[in-house]
């Protein structure tokens, strides 16, 4: 039976043309689009992956990017691994997604006992008799952190990921996109697809690369459209290499964009500055181009550029063709009965604008990385002298927020010295098991914590 040909990444890229000018720049290599024709980053072994559920696990972002271009439409399912995925989570993800192959550049551990087929990939292209016949509407699986520590697996497709929003900037030449984000996460992936499907070029970031060297590389490649979290941008303007880039268009997303950061970055670069709202589940919601924090209240309750916005119980809900389809391995759906995704982001109406005020579940956003208070509380509560702990956000002008903890001890500390020793002890415990951004900046010992009527510790969003 002949399957119908699907729209795939490669045939869309191919139809946009302009191959002689376009490029994809990684930390180690620059790939010209013309080099992609009749070549393979998988040493020509893509046919072995046809119809499979494939995990893409690389250190280098460019290697992941090339594998995605080659495999969309060929494989049934593509699982994108962020760089910091833990071995036990990789095993869990492989089982949940019924993965039967891994594509790896071997710079990261990719041992998963249940997956037999490992196909090498990299940034070196080899000539291949590539038949890019796309017969699958490939599922793109993105991982996002869950409350329990195990990642949530969100199902997207090229159609939901590629639904773009126009930027207001018109340029004499085609844009060169660039993002501080890792392109295996939603924020980076949406920019990557935007550039690839829109006929543009892109500079990818690289795990472990210094801000200065990334800015230099981006500048040398002539970036025009650059995105990152407000924290990425605050870090950029603190870098001696800040002036190596001069993007006419800057976009912030992934954290609440406050007015002072918007103003500072606009003043520094003299660029058009926008901030976007997006989440892995809801996709890109909207882009705010007027340079002001928050968004116009008039957008709520009606269709605004292909998205329906609703505010219910204080949280923002979105319905659009960019919404993810579902979760893997979770009974609850992504959308409610009316087809809206509850983002869990709380908004407050002030005048004629809505402003973001934090997460309903108390999730703390440290420079774009999510921290669930429960996972830090659980660690603190392992300390024998701790009765209960409450973790909340502390504002930071550098990373947006930091983690701070209040702790009730089982017995009153004898002296100030005892108290200080316990604080140090708890911090050490946290440092031993948590990544640095989840370690509290302070441990405050208190005599009691507010308990809500449900019997749970009262959490209010910051």
């Amino acid at each position: 039976m002949q399957a119908t040909e699907q729209i795939s990444m490669w045939n869309t890229i191919h139809s946009t043309g302009n191959f002689s000018e376009r490029f994809l720049c990684g930390a180690e290599a620059v790939i010209k689009f013309s080099d992609l024709i009749r070549s393979s980053s998988l040493r020509g072994r893509h046919e072995e992956l046809r119809g499979r559920s494939v995990i893409i696990r690389t250190g280098d972002q460019l290697a992941s990017a090339l594998a995605m271009i080659e495999l969309d439409g060929i494989v049934r399912r593509m699982v994108l691994c962020p760089p910091d995925i833990r071995d036990q989570d990789l095993q869990f993800v492989a089982e949940s997604t019924e993965a039967d192959a891994i594509v790896s550049d071997f710079s990261e551990s990719s041992r998963v006992p249940s997956v037999g087929l490992v196909i090498p990939c990299g940034t070196e292209l080899t000539p291949a008799d590539y038949d890019p016949k796309a017969v699958y509407a490939t599922e793109w699986i993105l991982l996002t952190s869950g409350t329990t520590g195990a990642p949530k697996m969100v199902v997207h497709s090229l159609r939901t990921l590629g639904g773009t929003i126009e930027s207001d900037v018109s340029l004499a030449r085609r844009p060169v996109w660039c993002t501080f984000y890792d392109m295996r996460r939603y924020g980076g992936l949406s920019i990557f697809l935007r550039a690839m499907l829109g006929g543009d070029s892109m500079v990818l970031s690289s795990t472990g690369e210094s801000t200065a060297s990334f800015l230099e590389r981006a500048g040398a490649n002539g970036v025009t459209h650059m995105s990152g979290t407000p924290s990425h941008w605050r870090r950029a303007i603190m870098s001696p290499a800040a002036r190596k880039v001069a993007p006419p268009y800057i976009r912030m997303s992934g954290e609440i964009a406050d007015q002072s950061t918007l103003d500072r970055v606009r003043a520094f670069y003299g660029a058009n500055i926008a901030h976007a709202f997006a989440s892995t589940e809801a996709g890109v919601g909207f882009v705010v181009n007027d340079g002001l924090a928050g968004f116009p209240a008039a957008w709520v309750g009606r269709k605004h550029i292909e998205v329906d916005l609703r505010v219910e119980d204080g949280s923002l809900r979105l319905r659009s063709r960019r919404n993810a389809a579902r979760y893997i391995g979770k009974s609850d759906g992504i959308r409610d009965a009316d087809g809206f995704v509850d983002t869990g982001d709380m908004v407050e109406l002030r005048g004629d604008r809505y402003y973001f005020v934090g997460r309903r579940d108390g999730t703390i956003n440290v420079g774009g990385f999510k921290v669930h208070p429960e996972e830090v509380e659980e660690v603190i509560q392992q300390h024998p002298q701790v009765r209960m702990a409450l973790v909340r956000a502390k504002k930071s002008a550098i990373t947006g927020a930091l983690v701070s903890a209040e702790v009730v001890l089982a017995t009153e500390p004898g002296s100030c010295d005892d108290q200080s020793a316990i604080q140090q002890d708890i911090l050490q415990l946290c440092r031993n098991v948590l990544p640095p951004h989840k370690v509290p900046v302070s441990i405050n010992i208190v005599s009691e914590l507010p308990v809500a009527e449900t019997g749970k510790i009262a959490r209010c969003c910051a």
Binding site: A212, R235, P240, V366, L402, H437, S442
Partner: protein, 85 residues
Amino acid sequence: MSVRSIVMNEFDQVATRQNMHLAPLTDDLALLDSGLDSLCIAVVVSRLEDELGVDPFSANVEGAQFPVTVGDFIHLYEGAVSPKV
């Protein structure tokens, strides 16, 4: 203790805690070349707020620039603290 030595001391302490190697601190050294990443710098700022009672970063001063060098960073605190002493 001077503001300068309080700031320097926090750099040392945070670097030690995070097992990061701190470069010899001079006024011309770029903050992000000091060996501390932006998370560490955020921690330093938070601890200095507890110690000195000011956070010059959050103060929304018209035209205020983010510091690039260690010297800029120290001057920012000296400027924020001294008028009150």
